[in-house]
Symmetry: D2
Subunit: 345 residues, 4 copies
């Protein structure tokens, strides 16, 4: 008998597919419902052939019908829409793990500025816990509403938070150059994402004012003990399907050498099952984490400038999205944190 | 009758292939010899099938046999080796366009530090002209020895030099994140470059002390009127065949808005046939310059931090290497600068 | 002064872009108009940044305004729509080079079966010349209306037609497995063509009844002296941007060895500027023809089965589409056939 | 306590990496040794960073030291070398699961012809069981020596064997066009496999006399009740990392329609956990099986020619190699056949 009964709201995108890929082999989970307005009534396999053997079906997202007896609802919906489901689900006693951006920013006015619209459920913000277990594990154990960390933020917060907390890098002048695979845009049918537009192409986008910027700064500022972190975040699209690589440049306050930085990572993350700390001087590679829930982090000092170069690699659909959502659920439900996630990529 | 008789020394790599691709359709050029120790005696088409129709053959790199009557020798050889050919060729009255790194650094002690060995021909350094026609056109007209600019340097110097010269950005704290296609490593048979190691992989390398760093700093310092530029240069390997994208972050001394920066580019480069200045706020894409000799440059201000984000895209085999070498030759020989290069990619 | 004044109808797709890329550097051509309903009034560079330097603009496709003084109209339009423009253009004395499929099939009832609709201009079919210069050069010289060969057909007809004409292979039992890059689907914004759906994916499609099948059979039957060729044609989508590779298996009527087959190719194509005949036993590679107007063909006998394996590689946007269209125009207008096409890829 | 103690001989290639990826999460398996001559004494993570968390080390392949107490030895070694280890391991009571080609061909003279050398251990051939559990499950239960099926053979035998056994297709005139990702060549450092040589490239190779041909024909002939199957097998290299797609064309003896063919597949494979039978008329896609042990098969009739087009997709490192090896071990050792393989890709 399963310990946890779950539903996935909005499962026809890549995050939804990845979430199902993990949940169907989670031995402690029973999938009660998978919703899709567009595909309701069809087999999940009609959209994602890999699920042919599961017999799973899409149903219409009817909260009243789905909520009874449910423990956890994953929301893999567009921002804005997720909030509309969170309220009634919580009211019916269902805990919510939201993969959208709706509950990540604590200040609704920041949400309004970056997401171009008033926040749909500001009253829920105070209780939302940011879904990054390596940092918020204790709060997650008690949470009713989890706001899973975004993909770029995960790749940047994990390596930087401990270094800022330990005061090893300056809060000023941080630059992050991130490169994302195309699935990071979702299963979006739009000209910039067709194969001939992406192949052999590297290009920055959203250079000033990307929606993940306030989320990153909020969390880094918290890590730095409320010293304000204001940074330059530059996402790029790279010709690959999966993976995010972030290269972060910061001014070192420790050193010489990578030792003090790696030591802090080891203290904070030494027992973390999903963080791989590379040997001093080695840097991360997206290929090492593909299809896994691992975050790989490395650091190299640049004595020429006095900077440190921090490099992280994460699978944008797993650790940055669906894998992390399951990790949060495992914490929330008191299951082993690595359950269904112990794949080596 | 051809105006210019040329030889290509070391033509079995990707730069050599690209050089031949351009030279065979250059109506003012006669190719006298194409050398390869490894393939001497074989048809060029046995290595590069696209040249089947040309009937070209590789010959042994015998300077005595090749030099008589020759106007220009292109050296597409490993660093160190190029210098050995430059001396005897110059002595026999042949002008040399060197694609290697041997004559790019003015200070031989810097060469020694970065290339791990004493400079093979320091006496030639004073007369070497840096092969970036947009900046050194006048000197190139009189040159006997051209040191073609490196690939990463071209992508960074072109957008930054005018902004430093006009004092629009700080010389301190510049960060450059560059992403190169795999052909940038040459036609190198080595584990990191096989397809399954590169595909779905983004990774930084050579983070402190890449050989192109002193070359970039030398030229940017010159552009800045000898105010020293010391920067953080972080190259990455991206899963594509061709192309370099550089994202450069610098502190703005002008603004608000991109106007003043783009204006300076337009003043400097408005008539340049191989520089495309994007509208203010738009950024570059490697796919726009593939197989062409164009450099695409764009800029976006980030009011959040007071930085500017500069983006450039170049085909690493053309504008950054062989195309630029031919452009230099055209200047050197008084031919139209765009001859054989007027392809739109 | 230009010899030929041309207009391009429907230039916002990949074939249109490639056509412009070739025409803008054709020294004997003046581009009078480039049409696009969607982008009329905008710079071509707003869609394809590589044309920023040309200053070209899209205009509305108004035949009355564009036809006067025009020599050639290229139609790079969807099938069905092309016919609507052909009639009025021909009436105004403009010769038409059509890249769509509208005039390729001689029998309008076959068109109806495969294109699901009655032929929009059957009265023009008798005078349409199939646009494959290597086979229809003489007829093209007099043509008013050219129906450029399709991409898969070009890759299959070029190697097979001479072998069937010389009776070296059986007309029965031919199988063609073709693999196309994604640009072959056009600049189409549809789920199957976004990057994560194409990358790491090889898949057949249109296995029975692809629209190019009757075109291939029509031309091979003609080549075989009206002995009916009925074949199995299986297109696949491969994770690349450009290129078509066709592997054709047929029963040999000659041999042993590749000699007789290659001899026939050499007789037919030995002087063709755009056909590369590989040495006996060697097979084609899409990478050898990228960005060029070349068709590469090779053959290998399989003594184990008595079959021959024929392999061809073509750039689907150049030799299979826009390059071939310009080649046809060159023939039509009495210009050197290789004008503006003499690029080695 | 683990049920099965295993060693992996030769684990520094892609098959070895994939094998470890599966074995480390197999709850019933204890990995006793991982050998590599080249890397003995180093951490496995030094070659494959994803194993950093396992602490595994490479050791020298010393059979005497490794065999005691061992149940199963996986041989992930080059052909020829595998046999040298098989003999002493069997002598010491260790069962052998060989991923190389050494024991696949029953007739040593065929081995000699295709592998250019006399068979190194012909006396072991009679007891070797062909490692394709869907067909040889009963024999595998008793086996001491398993010759795991090759990658192309797996993709072709699975769909064809039942159709030949049921006499639904002709044994004559079968053509198989297969496309493989580059990891199929192994972790081989050779010019044809570097990224710029593979990207944007589709090319056939080994067209007559590929080593997998006799293996395929041996098994299809067996399936056909010893009616000889002689076929044309044409492998291609495609620009992807993982995956094999095979398109097989055969003359139908049943029909009309796909029904009878799919019915036979359902009878044979309806309960197989690793075979996905697509609905009639749908064809396979490598992307659906990436990183999984699934074989996806589909069929489409071509009434135009009377042929059937059969399509299969398999991950060349999993179902075609390491996944299948573990599946064989599970059968051999009486473990659940899906243990450690129940990943959905």
């Amino acid at each position: 008998m399963a310990d946890v009964r779950v539903a996935v709201f909005g499962a026809s995108g890549y995050s939804g597919e990845e979430l199902l890929r993990i949940l169907v082999k989670h031995s402690r989970v029973e999938i009660r419902a998978i919703t899709s307005r567009q595909y309701a009534g069809q087999a999940v396999a009609s959209v994602f052939p890999r699920f042919a053997e599961t017999g799973l079906q899409f149903v219409f997202p009817d909260v009243d019908a789905i909520a009874p007896g449910l423990d956890i609802a994953f929301l893999s919906l567009p921002h804005g829409l997720a909030s509309e489901y969170a309220r009634p689900l919580l009211d019916k006693g269902v805990k919510v793990v939201d993969i959208s951006a709706d509950f990540r920013l604590r200040d609704p006015s920041v949400y309004e500025r970056y997401y171009k619209g008033s926040h749909p459920a500001p009253e829920l913000l105070p209780e939302a816990v940011y879904g990054l277990p390596e940092i918020y594990r204790d709060q997650l154990r008690q949470a009713r509403l989890v706001a899973c960390a975004g993909c770029y933020p995960t790749s940047i917060i994990i390596p930087l938070a401990p270094l800022l907390a330990a005061d090893l890098i300056e809060t000023e002048g941080i630059v992050a150059c991130s490169m994302s695979g195309v699935s990071g845009a979702g299963r979006k049918v739009d000209l910039p994402y067709i194969f001939p537009e992406c192949n052999e192409s590297v290009r920055p986008y959203g250079v000033s004012g990307h929606r993940h910027l306030p989320e990153i700064e909020q969390e880094l500022t918290a890590a730095a003990g409320e010293r304000v972190v204001r940074m330059n975040f530059i996402p790029h699209l790279a010709p690959m399907s999966r993976g995010i690589h972030s290269t972060v440049i910061a001014r070192a306050k420790a050193g010489p050498g990578e030792g003090p930085f790696v030591d802090v990572w080891r203290q904070c993350y030494g027992d973390e099952p999903f963080i791989r700390i590379l040997p001093p001087g080695e840097l991360a590679d997206t290929k090492h984490v593909a299809y896994s829930n691992m975050a790989e982090v490395g650091i190299r000092c640049d004595p020429h400038t006095g900077n440190v170069v921090i490099s992280s690699a994460i699978d944008n659909l797993t650790k940055c999205a669906s894998g992390q959502a399951v990790q949060c659920m495992n914490v929330l439900c008191g299951l082993p944190e690595t359950a269904a996630l112990d794949i080596l990529g």
